[in-house]
């Protein structure tokens, strides 16, 4: 900005200009300073990645601080019986804020980010950069069973997308910055830069293209650093040394089964609650309150199910959680139920933190069960199984094993658990995938056919429109043409198809195909007696220019057609053929997979 002012002053103009040219010649830089960044996208993306990481880090810290403040402010009220209404009020206010004030059209956050990457070139609304922070603060701060991670991911991604828009970046660059925002947010909220990077690559982008990695890593570092500056460099859960032996690694297989079962149960319960909520004939703003009050009711007897629940995890990792085996199992399943009530009935928040809590309860339950059944074995401390359970749940529900592994290592600082951690994460992901082929975040998108990762068949077809494929060199013929005249037209044409049109209205009536005409060619008697309208094919299905190419190709395959006429408003527009589709498909695939 100051340079712009300098350039504006007449006295400075020649000096500024000469200095600029000289410096650029010495450094061998392009003559336009903006071109330096434009010419090298990587440099531009790295600089913007820092900016995105800082902004998303600040958003994550702001939400964290707001949650702490709200939880502390409401804590003295929790012992009252009427406190069961607090989570309900919070969830209702959250819904009203999102729907009535911000008109957001709420979802859980992360699926919208993935949808934006998959289908909308990384475009997200500006309002999404702050709405979910406020709404999730109301839901979680009042005691709802949800986590702040999905809201900060949404917020960070929206920040990245809007910064990219501000700088008029292209689609691929915008997607990189969006993922950078998500990475910065996860990195800041967990103080886990590697987990942030891996989450962005594995869950948000679903591809490991080298073009994305560096800017996202930089954004992740920036987010983490800003969080450390504002909150201190602390791991979320204190580090403990665990001595892992072979029995623990073998036992991890059983824990993976329990974790995948729990993650499938959680996914299905949230969906069922969503369906029940949708069928309940009540105003939409009342529904989150119902879910919230139910959670508040559970919370009176089992306070560990409320809020993000990190305090319970801490005591479990430390080995100081004193409840008995059955009670821990019950609380674990109640946490699943409370999370389903909160999110399924319209509360705002994420699934990450509840997964960590449920996972640690499952890990603890499993460990105590093992100790009960095999008292002679020298098992590792139960805190270790709490960690493994967290990784298992995260991996199972997100079907993203690397995110689970690195998140747990970073937030606990316990690298020595890496072997059982890999076993639990890998197996939990595999088992969950075999029962639920799409993860919690992707299920809706897959069901709607909207998950189209770059370079996949669906994405390539979705990015090609019928108008781009039109072959317009077919010669239309009149319905009243005799066969002899049609033969003259055929002589001039290079195509096998001849659309038949009404000479008065220009409307498309049918199609003449050379193959259908062979019987008539060799009988000259018919040349002056058969009209085009008598031999045209009127049953050939037509395509509208606005139709989806995937659907059209499916229709072609089913009917065994090689080409189809494109008709709009009753008029013939051209032909679409598999040869042209293949040609265009290859070019589109090359564009999408070029890194």
């Amino acid at each position: 900005m100051p340079t712009r002012w300098l350039r504006g002053l007449p006295i400075w103009k020649p000096i500024w200009s000469s200095a600029r040219v000289a410096v650029k010649r010495i450094l061998n830089l392009p003559q336009s300073s903006w071109n330096l960044f434009r010419g090298d996208d990587r440099l531009l993306l790295i600089i913007l990645g820092v900016m995105v990481g800082i902004c998303s880090g600040v958003a994550a810290v702001a939400l964290n601080r707001a949650l702490v403040t709200m939880l502390e402010a409401l804590h003295p009220l929790r012992h009252h019986v009427w406190a069961i209404f607090i989570p309900g009020a919070g969830a209702m206010l959250s819904y009203l804020f999102l729907e009535k004030v911000m008109k957001e059209g709420a979802g859980h956050g992360v699926p919208e980010v993935i949808y934006s990457v998959s289908r909308r070139g990384g475009l997200l609304r500006f309002r999404s950069s702050f709405t979910r922070l406020v709404s999730s603060c109301l839901t979680i701060g009042s005691g709802g069973s949800a986590g702040p991670e999905a809201p900060v991911v949404m917020s960070g991604a929206a920040i990245g997308s809007n910064i990219a828009r501000l700088f008029s970046l292209n689609e691929r660059q915008r997607i990189t910055l969006l993922a950078g925002g998500a990475a910065g947010a996860i990195s800041a909220i967990f103080n886990a830069p590697v987990a942030g990077l891996i989450f962005a690559m594995e869950v948000i982008l679903g591809e490991w293209a080298s073009i994305h990695i560096i800017p996202i890593a930089i954004a992740s570092v920036a987010g983490c650093e800003i969080s450390r500056m504002l909150q201190g460099n602390q791991t979320a859960f204190s580090h403990h040394h665990f001595s892992i032996d072979l029995p623990d690694i073998i036992a991890a297989i059983g824990l993976a089964v329990l974790c995948s079962f729990s993650s499938i149960l959680l996914t299905r319960m949230i969906r069922n609650m969503h369906d029940i909520s949708a069928k309940t004939p009540l105003p939409r703003w009342v529904k989150p309150a119902i879910g919230g009050v139910a959670v508040g009711g559970i919370g009176i007897f089992f306070p560990d199910v409320m809020g993000e629940g990190y305090h319970a995890i801490r005591s479990m990792i430390e080995g100081s959680y004193t409840q008995g085996l059955m009670l821990i199992a019950v609380i674990g399943f109640l946490k699943i139920f409370a999370t389903a009530l909160t999110l399924g009935w319209g509360g705002s928040g994420g699934i990450f933190a509840p997964c960590l809590v449920i996972g640690s309860f499952m890990g603890l339950t499993y460990h105590r069960g093992l100790v009960l059944m095999f008292p002679g074995v020298d098992w590792v401390n139960e805190g270790c199984f709490a960690l493994l359970g967290m990784a298992g749940l995260i991996s199972g529900i997100l079907q993203a094993p690397l995110t689970g592994i690195f998140l747990i290592i970073e937030i606990t600082g316990s690298y020595e658990v890496i072997l059982p951690l890999i076993v639990v994460s890998a197996l939990s992901t595999t088992l969950s995938h075999s029962v639920e082929p799409a993860s919690f975040y992707l299920k809706d998108l897959v069901m709607r056919g909207q998950l189209l990762r770059p370079g996949t068949d669906g994405r390539v077809l979705a990015d090609i429109g019928i108008p781009e494929l039109l072959e317009t060199d077919c010669i239309p013929v009149s319905r009243s043409l005799f066969l002899r005249d049609l033969l003259k037209v055929i002589q001039k044409s290079r195509r096998n198809h001849f659309p038949v049109e009404d000479p008065e209205t220009g409307d498309y009536l049918g199609m003449i195909n050379l193959d259908d005409m062979r019987p008539y060619f060799f009988n000259p008697v018919l040349y002056d007696t058969v009209l085009v309208e008598q031999i045209m094919n009127t049953d050939l299905p037509c395509v509208h220019p606005a139709e989806d190419l995937g659907t059209v190709l499916q229709q072609m395959d089913e009917l065994g057609l090689f080409s189809m006429p494109v008709v709009s408003n009753g008029r013939f527009k051209g032909m679409i053929s598999k040869a042209t589709i293949l040609d265009r498909y290859r070019r589109e695939l090359m564009v999408q997979t070029a890194h």
């Binding site: 008109k103 059209g105 949808y115 934006s116 475009l123 609304r125 008029s168 220019p545 606005a546």
Partner: protein
């Protein structure tokens, strides 16, 4: 390829007047009409470099059971077979995505606010954002339908003004209607504007297609607008320069929309104009 006009149907008397203008426009330009009958009060439009959320006034959802039938009946009465736009993609369950691959769009002055705000001098924020982001021009309909029989382009020499002029040529060819050009010269002379036309390489087309060119060298712009025919569709470039310049010098389009009761065709900064197109 055929021309597509996009219309969002509001199922009440005001919506009928707007739809009649879309129908008239489609008939005059030989375009196909695509009608969206909303089922939710909001939707998203994903443009090339921006996403616009349109929050509709609740009157758009009046009597949903009759909306489709009424919209189709109005169009068919004028010999059109409109295509119904049904959202295929949703950002959230109540947030459909509407395609943006149209050639024109028709809008009342506001879609998000109460219809009491449809008077002169007010264009709603959503309509403004659509104009700014869209690659297609937006026809701002009048509260009551009145057929237009000529075209009036406002040309002030700006980049967007040139785009408006090119759209005027295109519309004149499509409709066969006479084209009038109006220029508020202020301290400049006609030669200045003629130079811009020459530099743009559209002097020949200008010569052939423009019926009259009024250059106002004196008088207040708002007063000079009296010369614009009452039955003209006014074509104007909009939002071509920055906010600061608009605040300092005022915006041509704001003065036009606050003064003229005619239908306005607003050409935004992203409209890709060509003389041939």
């Amino acid at each position: 390829m055929e021309i597509q006009v996009f219309h969002i149907f509001r199922n009440n008397a005001l919506g009928r007047e707007t739809l009649l203008q879309s129908i008239y426009f489609s008939v005059q330009t030989n375009a196909n009409l695509s009608v969206y009958v909303p089922e939710h009060t909001k939707f998203l439009m994903y443009f090339e470099n921006d996403v616009v959320q349109v929050d509709l006034d609740s009157s758009y959802l009046t009597q949903p059971e009759t909306a489709v039938e009424r919209a189709m009946a109005l169009a068919e009465a004028d010999g059109l077979v409109p295509r119904r736009v049904v959202p295929q993609a949703f950002t959230a369950s109540t947030l459909p995505d509407i395609p943006v691959n149209f050639d024109f769009m028709t809008c009342p002055r506001t879609v998000s606010d109460l219809s009491s705000k449809i008077g002169l001098g007010y264009i709603g924020p959503r309509v403004r954002r659509i104009v700014k982001c869209a690659r297609f021009p937006v026809l701002i309909a009048t509260p009551v339908f009145k057929p237009w029989t000529r075209l009036a382009v406002f040309f002030g020499g700006s980049v967007n003004g040139v785009k408006a002029l090119k759209l005027g040529f295109r519309m004149a060819r499509m409709t066969g209607m006479p084209l009038h050009v109006f220029t508020q010269a202020d301290e400049k002379d006609k030669a200045y504007f003629q130079d811009i036309i020459d530099q743009e390489g559209i002097a020949d087309t200008f010569e052939k297609q423009v019926d009259t060119w009024d250059v106002f060298t004196s008088g207040k712009f708002e007063d000079n607008l009296y010369a614009v025919p009452h039955d003209a569709l006014c074509i104007v470039g909009a939002y071509g320069h920055g906010v600061i310049k608009d605040i300092l010098f005022g915006s041509m389009v704001e003065r036009i929309q606050a003064t003229l009761p005619n239908p306005l065709m607003m050409v935004g900064p992203n409209y890709a104009a060509s003389v041939g197109g």
